[in-house]
Symmetry: C2
Subunit: 436 residues, 2 copies
Amino acid sequence: MATTQFNPTCSKPHLHSSQLSFLSRTLPKRRHCSFAPFHRTQHASISCSVAPNEVQVPAVKTQDPKSKPECYGVFCLTYDLRAEEETRSWKKLISIAVSGAAGMIANHLLFKLASGEVFGPDQPIALKLLGSERSIQALEGVAMELEDSLFPLLREVSIGIDPYEVFQDAEWALLIGAKPRGPGMERSALLDINGQIYAEQGRALNAVASRNVKVIIVGNPCNTNALICLKNAPNIPAKNFHALTRLDENRAKCQLALKAGVFYDKVSNMTIWGNHSTTQVPDFLNARIDGLPVKEVVKDHKWLEEEFTEKVQKRGGVLIQKWGRSSAASTSVSIVDAMRSLITPTPEGDWFSSGVYSSGNPYGIAEDIVFSMPCRSKGDGDYELVRDVIFDDYLRQRIAKTEAELLAEKRCVAHLTGEGIAVCDLPGDTMLPGEM
Amino acid sequence: MATTQFNPTCSKPHLHSSQLSFLSRTLPKRRHCSFAPFHRTQHASISCSVAPNEVQVPAVKTQDPKSKPECYGVFCLTYDLRAEEETRSWKKLISIAVSGAAGMIANHLLFKLASGEVFGPDQPIALKLLGSERSIQALEGVAMELEDSLFPLLREVSIGIDPYEVFQDAEWALLIGAKPRGPGMERSALLDINGQIYAEQGRALNAVASRNVKVIIVGNPCNTNALICLKNAPNIPAKNFHALTRLDENRAKCQLALKAGVFYDKVSNMTIWGNHSTTQVPDFLNARIDGLPVKEVVKDHKWLEEEFTEKVQKRGGVLIQKWGRSSAASTSVSIVDAMRSLITPTPEGDWFSSGVYSSGNPYGIAEDIVFSMPCRSKGDGDYELVRDVIFDDYLRQRIAKTEAELLAEKRCVAHLTGEGIAVCDLPGDTMLPGEM
């Protein structure tokens, strides 16, 4: 376990030269970065496939293109939803920003959102797609496919590479984009690279998104990315940030169902505790099968303690081996599940897992990290932590391990959360294989 | 325009040697294949991730694995939907077979089917996935992701590489699988290779599928593949076979909307006539915008006649350039649209396009080919052709061209439809770029 202070992408150290001199003697590799929460990049992208001279205006007015510079194609038009009988009863347009929008997870997710699968048949949707300079052409391709799908609810699509533009007024931000780990890249370097992205996106959300934006962070390491993101968005409630552990929850339910020989809809109260990494703790102590404690149904407790967790953790890796790709489809299903869990009341007696801000938790878990815990929602977009869970020594030990990992990750990104100098003393490598 | 008799994949000529001798003198390349509608291949695949010793049986019984050999994982279990209050009112399980199930289009489509998006929230689904020996591992990956998605309606998933097993009792067959065109491959060779696949699948449907199975052919060249398929399934009504031209219809609507400056939901009565190739005819004579004939709204008739069709045809190619991949997401949306159009009543006064068997058509189009035409449905899975369409010289000429192409394709696959010796005198190359 090496202790390094490390930030390979920051070019402007903000330490005193005396400090640097000290560090350069004690540590072979180290760079530093100050906390710069409101620095703003200046890349923007404008794309609209309707040339002004191509548009003929019959009954419906097109909008002045200058007032809405980032729209795409047919979505550059405006229309009065109140003017037509069919759409008059619809809810107010909802704005959903998606980063990594040219990637495979988003390629599934965007079409689900546009189809009405998440918010229902009377909720018109605006999609705001964030890509990179490298992916801007692909983003146009995505927007073209959204056009060609003729989703009646999809009323706006805009694309861009500047989060300060794309996140404008967003009510949901689904942050999928992250750099994958290159060959030989140290985990601390990955934490830093993706942390920079999430720090920037947090600042952008803080500056321009809806004050009550709900943020789901999918890009890995998602718990620590979520922590960085919320720390950089002090004007948005920390409670609004979620790290996605729902795919882990779904996988855990499926593996318990398989073991018990029941259909997966019989498994409830499944908590994933902690980090979305191999230290995650799928909780078979509190989970239930057909309403009964798992341990009463699955008598093979050795399997539960020794194989179950590994089966859940390794699912992604097995899938990549078989399928040759990562789990884009089921990840996108789990994002939909996570969103639905926040906008529909949780069924009586059940709960769902989400990586949420830990301060004030009733479980004795360290404050000020993003930790997956059991949540319930009234369906208003908010959640509360579940109180009636039990612990045993096994569960406590496992939770302590994933908690230690998250605290180490936090120390490693201190330069991105405004808490001083990063110190990377990460335990062993626990990234999940193939997760983005 | 070379005239060849050509079948590169058939290894057993069934012609008299005198014929062969004559042909070998007149044509440099030629092989022949007889019509063998009931030949059966013998590849099967069995996969189930539940080892018998892993299953503990609480309240719900697992089925004897021998009676259901091709199930996957948690879907190897059975359950009595009548035993529970929640599922008691559900419809009878519907069986949907999908070929090319490890491909990108299916990767979108399967999750849509399983989510209830097509058949509604009270229709349990069985998915039967057909792959190839090469893709069987990937198929397992797809089944794993379906497990991990916990779709309540998805009650059976089976995978295999023998259409005679996979198509058993299928009520829908969504045939997506096709070989892509290799570099330097002649179009006649592609017609033959994919025609062989669709002949085999037609025979399998004829032998084992539901007698009223609805078949949607997506693999290209889809019209002629559909013709081959239906000719090899004489016991299934020819009317049940569809070649997918819905993506073309959707794209045509979007392009007209863009030109007119209206949202795409204002465009109706859009027919694609003919072949799913560059000879397709998006019909702006009969289409309507906001209830008015297109020509009254879009005054730029030169654009309609000279640019519109090309814009629709080239959409897939442009997308590949931008996106680097073919249009899997919007193709899968259009398959859903095509299915919904058959199971829900067509809105009053409107219609949809589908490539259907042309015999008995009221438009004077050649009999005995698969031709995209305007259809209406009562929502019972069946359709009738629309009678109140008008024609002008421009439309007639265009239709004649795509008709000639389909007749030429038909001659080129005569060995696969039971109509003697194939003669390939295909006009220029009209495959759509990047379409599978």
